[in-house]
Amino acid sequence: MKYPLALTLFAVTLVLVALGWLNSAKASGVILHPQATPEESVQTLFRAVRERNWPKAQSQLANPGQVDNSAFIYDLAGGDGSLRTYSTLEGVEVSVVHQNADDALVRARMNWSTAVGSVSDTRDLKMVREGDDWKVVWPVSQVLKVPAQVMSVNYLRWDVVNRGPEGDWGTASIDPPKVRIISMNAVERPDSVIVMGEVVNEDTIPAYVTVNAALIDSNGAEFREEGSFDKVSHVLLPSQVTPYRIDFPRLRLNQVKQVRMDAKVAAIPASADPVIGVMNQRMETDALGKKLLAGDLVNQSGQTVNIAQVLATCYDDNGKVIWVSDGYIDRALLPMTPQAFAVDLPPDVASHVQRFRVSVNHYTRSAS
């Protein structure tokens, strides 16, 4: 044999090149061998979703003929200026709930990175085996189609006319709306102290409200201050009540002697519309055993609400606020179309909840 070393090196090089090509193909989603598991098939589907490669995503479906192309994209990419349109799929946690030879049920928890933080969406997907491959039976959405109609709306709106900086001293100006903090409760959680309660607008004009809490230590010194940020309905119409929640991370309640509350209030231009109903509110337990406060939002106006946020207030049997939870809805609220929502409740809180109240914050892109 001449050149044995050269031949050996050539053969090894060929093997390594082949291995490298196989790995790179797998990384880019090229299927070189049949998918062996339902998890891999779901991961491939959502990888295509992340890349917004809709033809490839639909090729992973077992029922592409039944799923409307635009409805599939609307379901995963969102539309109508909803929160989902400002979101990116960060990752998917997949687990098999059960599996037979020809079908399986897979739970996929999609973690979306959105403009207002992380939002997760958990779905149970049916899988069927097709040859050596697994395909997803995508649920055919039954969206309620509202008949074409003209909705008459008597818009009610408040505008504020300010005198500007040149206003004379002593001339009449607009008094800020009268807003009152009607309850406050400070509770200790494993990793934080949470101050929560409710605020009511007792005036006859809309109010813009921000609630702040300052913590006082045993020496009477103020050592922490936080605001309610988005865990409050900032715009309060007359007689409207909003919960608020202020989190103080990495703190124990025994470090706090006193809480000083402060509601900053200003008159603000506002509209009384749209009205959003919160229907069929109920406590339930999801497939993972978590306690949820669930229901449906119904936009009762003829205007699409792009982004909605649910604020849930939970009371104990004495009427004391024991928890405030919130959640963003990543679907737009179309006129008269129910949109499901669910917010988490800690298990120890859920067992004490006797009554709850859900209110809705909303953002409409066309509104000023």
């Binding site: 002593g170 119409l237 007359p238 007689s239 009384a272 009205v275 109920r282």
Partner: protein
Amino acid sequence: MRVIGILFFLCSVFAILSQAQTPPGLRLPANIVAGEAVTIPSSGSGSETFYLIGPGRAAKRNIQAGENIQLSSADLGAAGTYQAIICSGDDCASTSFYVAPDRGKELVFLVHPSRIAVGQPNAISAVTVVLDRFHNLVVQPEAVTFRATSKENGISSPPQMTRNGVAWTRLNSGTKDGTVEINASLGQASERRVVQQVAAEPCHLHVSAEQKGNRVVLQTEPVRDCRGNAVPDGTIVTFTKTDKLGRSTVDAPIKKGVARTEMAFGGPAMISVACGVVLGNDIQMGGAR
């Protein structure tokens, strides 16, 4: 005796020194009012410099000793203590004088709040500050009259004398909603402010329900307070329906005096209504208990 003697000596020294400060040529009128032109006669001969230092103003003039010094109304517009200094070479002498504010000419009028519920005692505060034509605070007493006028009636207070330039009063809000005009007047000067009187908490909140197919229309009767005033539009009324599917709530604003909403109806339900802390009637629909 020794102490009294020392005090007498010191007082004498201060008296001599203060007389030395007053230039012999400056003879100021006893009472000067803001905005009045004043003539100060001077004596002596030669060229002198006159300085006038007052609140927010300072002036310097070259004068001939023995001529009258003219101070215009603009020179003495601001009330307060002035200092007049006259210098001849390096030799200066000064005197202080007080310019009193003129008679009241303008009013600054502060009324609070701008919105008030009806039937509130002493709820409206009206404060006026009297200024002269140069915007000096008029500290001498002036008679101010307050008047409140609503669509039903008008009430005037007896003239009130200002104290240190300020007069105030407190008013009850009326029994009917609408605007109330509050005037403060001083001679020809008058200032007007408007306070919005609004309905108090709703009274006898009542809802009716009408089933239309698989929906139920809920509507309140005109929402009024206990005096019959319409609760302002935009006030939130909360409708609640409890049935086998759970609890449904709608926060609906009052529009044109009534609040209205629609909900799905799928069987026996209990319906209630609330506005703020006021609860309305309950309705049982479809045999709900």
